[in-house]
């Protein structure tokens, strides 16, 4: 354990965020079991008031959780490598926690996804005075809870596990992953070229679906947004793989340095922040473009707002995808024009 102020801030932020979410969850349980919108009895009126408080509490919790996640990433990428012996980037820090913080980050992103979904539903819900999605959304709020607990526990375990005395290999180990040069040029036995072409074809398909979702005049637009969500789910891991295995080389200007965390270092101009930031936006907005419309399917009054949110999601996804592809493609094209060859 290292008592670094940033890690203490993460712990405090997580605890505060969890407490706020637990408070909102207590009300959510009452909403799921006792919500009777037709009744004007005292119990229902009190529950309606508590629902507003819980909504604020959960929103604040989401904001704090987002902040503590950002602090954790800053700690992993740019602060702890100077403290953990042998660590040059986030890879070394994760090794010093036996991979626990890596797992924590994965769970945290999943929690953040469901929280964002909750927030989207909440905005839809509040677009109508009678708030028809209240019980539905209370269930989503409750769904977050076990994953939230898991994320916080794994994060704390990871922070406690950081060993500042035991040296780590850091990303030098990525070279040991491959027995030969040929092995470094393939992923799961499939050549990198295949993954690159797949990435670009899926990108074209995803952008087309985003435009389709933006332009569709149908009231629901479930087909367009459904296709966009499915392609996004396939596109994101392939984009991440090609980034780390192929395009990162143009930032590092070194062959086969398959480390995602080095992209967050100052010597690479923190390029990992916009790149992975774009991936996160796409991961969130793709499914949300569909789920927003899907949730409103049973409530015709909500559909116009749901469609607007869905279009906004498609627009954000489109812009993030264009930004992302520009950021990965331009250095590669520049390199090709300068030296006449592709790296790797």
């Amino acid at each position: 354990m290292i008592w670094h102020p940033l890690l203490i801030a993460v712990i405090v932020g997580d605890l505060l965020s969890l407490l706020l979410w637990l408070g909102a969850a207590a009300t959510a349980i009452q909403i799921v079991t006792q919500w009777v919108p037709q009744s004007a009895k005292r119990e229902q009126i009190q529950l309606e008031r508590r629902a507003e408080t819980a909504r604020l509490s959960a929103k604040f919790s989401l904001a704090v959780f987002f902040l503590s996640t950002a602090l954790l990433i800053i700690a992993i990428t740019n602060v702890l490598p100077a403290i953990v012996p042998g660590a040059m980037c986030g890879t070394g820090v994760l090794q010093a926690t036996d991979g626990l913080l890596g797992r924590a980050l994965m769970v945290r992103f999943f929690v953040f996804f469901i929280m964002t979904l909750w927030l989207t539903y909440e905005k839809l819900n509040l677009s109508r005075p009678d708030a028809p999605l209240t019980t539905y959304n209370a269930r989503v709020l409750l769904l977050v809870l076990p994953f939230f607990l898991l994320a916080v526990i794994t994060t704390f375990r990871g922070i406690l596990r950081i060993d500042s005395h035991q040296p780590v290999d850091c990303c030098a180990m990525v070279y040991d992953q491959f027995g030969s040069l040929a092995a470094a040029r393939q992923i799961a036995g499939i050549p990198n070229t295949f993954w690159v072409w797949t990435f670009w074809m899926l990108t074209a398909l995803m952008l087309s679906c985003a435009v389709w979702s933006l332009r569709t005049n149908r009231t629901k637009g479930e087909k367009a947004t459904g296709s966009l969500a499915v392609i996004t789910v396939i596109w994101v891991p392939i984009a991440a793989i090609t980034l780390v295995r192929v395009y990162a080389a143009y930032f590092y200007q070194v062959l086969h340095h398959h480390c995602p965390w080095c992209l967050f270092l100052s010597e690479h101009k923190f390029v990992g922040v916009p790149l992975f930031g774009a991936l996160i936006i796409i991961t969130l907005e793709g499914p949300i473009s569909y789920l927003a419309v899907k949730a409103a399917a049973s409530y015709p009054d909500l559909l116009p707002t749901a469609r607007r949110r869905s279009r906004l999601a498609a627009l954000r996804l489109f812009l993030a995808a264009v930004g992302y592809t520009g950021m990965v493609a331009l250095p590669a094209i520049y390199w090709r024009l300068l030296y006449g060859v592709w790296l790797g």
């Binding site: 009126i45 005075p129 708030a131």
Partner: protein, 228 residues
């Protein structure tokens, strides 16, 4: 649809310092329709101001609901209640004017979020000031006004946005006889086919002048009953 404002079994409880509850309003039922002027009277502390704040959407009942055109506005979430409240003009017991602003600026204030042009804003504000005979005070800071003048400014501010529901709490408390007569006359004139006017007052002249109060309610011990 014609405007209606309905209290359905509305109660309001407040917690005392010792933790026990006190009922400020108990099972209030009332229906007000467009074109009506309603007067609510009762002793000091009877809950008149509280009832007005409930009707204006500033407070929420502990039990029951208030509906406007059949919609349970008292139970709407804050966003929608705030939008609905734009239809309500409120005259508070205390004027609540901004001391640093002139009379005209104070009256213009409620119009600003409505996106009207500045010329139109000024025109509406001048009309409201004219209605209550205080247009000659327009450029003065409110601090230099008397209590009665400040009260008229606050009434002008309440009507400047042409609200569908006008709610006033003791609007003639600081007026002389002429001022009271003018305000009662103007309130009576505000009863249009699409408006509801509700006034809480001690002053017996509101009923004596006979033009304003179509309905007269008495609030006693938290219970509301209509006087015939």
């Amino acid at each position: 649809m014609s405007l209606s404002l309905v209290c359905q079994n509305v109660s309001l409880y407040r917690r005392r310092a010792d933790g026990s509850e006190r009922a400020i309003l108990k099972h209030v039922d009332a229906t007000l329709n467009a074109g009506e002027g309603a007067m609510i009277s009762g002793k000091t502390g009877a809950g008149k101001s509280t009832l007005l704040q409930l009707l204006a959407g500033l407070l929420r009942p502990s039990q029951g609901q208030i509906t406007a055109n059949g919609q349970p506005v008292s139970r709407w979430n804050t966003v929608h209640r705030d939008i609905w409240r734009r239809q309500v003009g409120i005259v508070f017991q205390h004027p609540h004017l901004i001391d640093e602003f002139t009379v005209l600026e104070n009256v213009i204030l409620p119009l600003i979020p409505r996106g009207t042009s500045l010329t139109q804003l000024r025109e509406l504000a001048w009309q409201a000031l004219d209605t209550f005979g205080i247009s000659h005070l327009a450029k003065q800071k409110v601090l230099s006004l008397s209590g009665g003048e400040q009260q008229r400014v606050s009434i002008a501010r309440a009507i400047v946005s042409r609200p569908a529901i006008l709610i006033a709490d003791e609007p003639t408390a600081h007026q002389d006889d002429d001022g009271t007569a003018l305000i009662i006359e103007k309130f009576a004139g505000w009863k249009l086919p699409h408006t509801i006017v509700i006034v809480a007052a001690h002053d017996p002249r509101w009923t004596q002048y006979g033009k304003f109060a179509d309905r007269h309610f008495l609030l006693e011990n938290g219970r509301l009953r209509e006087l015939q």
